[in-house]
């Protein structure tokens, strides 16, 4: 595989995503609605029950839910929309690598979601003054690895969604909230403070967000450094690699199946 066309494809796809957001800044305001309001609502819930010291969990959840929403709606189901718009046919007939497109989409998605995450953070900090005790190297490393693993999950879902038509939207609606719940976006879902039985905690740990959120809380609010989080970081890295391999394999298999069955570029099913 030549790397130059691959990188150019990824960069081009990332640029499209960035231009679509930063070319029309109203998109940033539009995208931040759900993360901000859910973060505000859960922060107020924590405050109303005398648990103000955990408000930071709600703010952090708002930040990460922005990325999760981006993965679901702008990664996983993107090929479905590309099919409807007729773009997917162009991808298929061009020499561009589909994996490179997905990587570019992910990179662009992360950068495009960053302003929303930043605004949620600033607003949460200004309104609620959450108490933090960060170990910054661990926070940065955990945050980065979580995003890599999360967008790798998005790439896997994207390849699976190639076989779906409009059901992709239903699938997104079905998995969005349960993943938020199981991954402990706003409360600890694994470990000593989890309400879930052990088996469910193990199952939830297969979602990259679960390990990522847990490690982010430990590093951001309880000051745990890299040395105390090595297992979480190791698991996150493992999940990221596993998801990338899974996405490559499923993409290849489903692309071939779609070509064989003649359904890969059917616009509306």
């Amino acid at each position: 595989m030549e790397t130059r066309p691959w990188l150019r494809t990824a960069r081009a796809r990332a640029q499209v995503r960035l231009w679509s957001i930063f070319g029309e800044p109203l998109w940033i305001i539009v995208n931040m609605g759900f993360p901000i309001f859910s973060s505000l609502a859960f922060s107020l819930l924590y405050l109303s029950i005398g648990a103000g010291s955990y408000v930071g969990f709600a703010v952090l959840g708002g930040v990460m839910v922005a990325f999760w929403g981006n993965v679901l709606w702008s990664m996983a189901s993107n090929f479905n929309w590309d099919k409807q718009e007729g773009l997917f046919d162009i991808y298929l007939t061009s020499p561009a690598s589909i994996t490179a497109l997905l990587v570019g989409m992910a990179a662009g998605g992360i950068l495009a979601t960053a302003p929303t995450a930043g605004i949620v953070t600033v607003l949460g900090w200004l309104l609620f003054h959450p108490v933090v005790s960060p170990s910054w190297p661990a926070v940065v490393l955990t945050f980065g690895l979580t995003l890599v693993a999360l967008y790798a999950l998005g790439m896997t879902l994207s390849s699976l969604y190639l076989v779906y038509g409009r059901e992709a939207e239903t699938m997104n609606n079905v998995i969005q909230e349960p993943v938020s719940m199981l991954s402990g976006m706003y409360f600890p879902s694994i470990g000593a403070f989890s309400p879930f039985p052990f088996a469910l905690q193990v199952a939830a740990s297969l979602i990259p967000l679960t390990i990522g959120m847990d490690a982010l809380r430990k590093s951001l609010f309880f000051g745990q450094g890299v040395e105390g989080l090595w297992l979480d970081l190791f698991l996150l890295a493992d999940l990221a690699v596993a998801m990338l391999i899974a996405s490559a394999v499923s993409l290849d298999a489903l692309e071939r199946k779609g070509r064989r069955d003649g359904t890969i570029s059917v616009r509306i099913r």
Binding site: F37, L40, A41
Partner: protein, 281 residues
């Protein structure tokens, strides 16, 4: 002009659209998943916060949150259907077939909203049942809900009385969608987010700073959720149920009348401007 036949046809189309893409039972069950998860999320946040905060855990408060989160999910699920019907209809070319008929599209939207109300009522009540048992199983906490024939009837009446307000909100969002072609999908998310904060769904509106707390308490949706709580949370508060319901009805009817006028004006203008059938308005 009101036509029950058109209304029924639109509602039936909505049922087909929402349920017939797979088997109805599977579709209904899939629709239960999201509200169930969101109810569980809010309940667990309360359980976790109360277990580690300064206020002791209170089962009545858990029931308050459980019912509020359920009804919030219910309203959010069907109030945005007019927006989706227009946006998706324009995108897939269905909406032009509706607006060229002799009936106003407002009737079509009402039918779609009513079908969604029926589906959402079913799914949110199922989600509440599942969450009731899951909360008991995971959190090992009792939830003092009062399920009697009377309380079920009172809850059903409250659900029905909330329709005008939710439909009014749907018309307001729909008016925007007639013109928009980019941001209409996220507008309902904004409104749902605002409702989560201002409808007293998961915390009392008195938590909000003045004057937001007063404005929030005056919303028909807040009164609807309050009435439903009075009906189903033990020991019940029938004295508060009636006034809340009346307030919800009055506010809802005013909202419906006002926003229907807004929608009809937008529709008239959209016809004149020729944007009704444009995918990119």
């Amino acid at each position: 002009m009101l036509s029950f036949r058109s209304l029924f046809a639109a509602a039936w189309m909505g049922i087909q659209h929402d349920l017939a893409w797979t088997t109805p039972a599977a579709s209904l069950l899939l629709d239960v998943v999201a509200p169930f998860a969101s109810i569980m999320t809010v309940s667990i946040i309360y359980w976790f916060g109360a277990s580690h905060g300064t206020t002791p855990f209170d089962p009545a408060r858990l029931a308050y949150i459980l019912v509020g989160a359920t009804l919030y999910a219910h309203v959010a699920a069907y109030a945005w259907v007019p927006t989706a019907a227009i946006a998706e209809g324009k995108n897939l070319g269905v909406f032009p077939h509706i607006y060229i008929t002799s009936r106003s599209t407002a009737l079509y939207l009402a039918g779609r909203a009513l079908s969604s109300f029926a589906i959402s009522t079913t799914t949110s009540m199922l989600a509440l049942c599942f969450a009731y048992f899951a909360v008991g199983g995971f959190l090992h906490e009792p939830v003092p809900l009062m399920i009697t024939p009377l309380s079920v009837v009172l809850l059903a009446v409250a659900l029905l009385v909330n329709i005008p307000g939710a439909l009014g909100l749907g018309y307001l969002l729909g008016a925007y969608s007639l013109y928009a072609s980019k941001f209409e999908w996220s507008l309902p998310g904004y409104v749902a987010g605002l409702l989560m904060i201002f409808s007293g769904a998961i915390f009392p509106t008195s938590t909000l700073p003045w004057p937001l707390s007063v404005a929030a308490a005056g919303l028909p949706f807040t009164q609807f959720i309050a009435a439903a709580r009075d009906a189903v949370i033990a020991p019940g508060n029938l004295g508060g149920y009636g006034p809340s319901l009346l307030y919800c009805l009055a506010g809802g009817v005013i909202m419906l009348a006002a926003f229907l006028v807004v929608y009809l004006s937008a529709e008239k203008r959209a016809r004149r401007d020729g944007v009704l059938d444009r995918r990119l308005a």
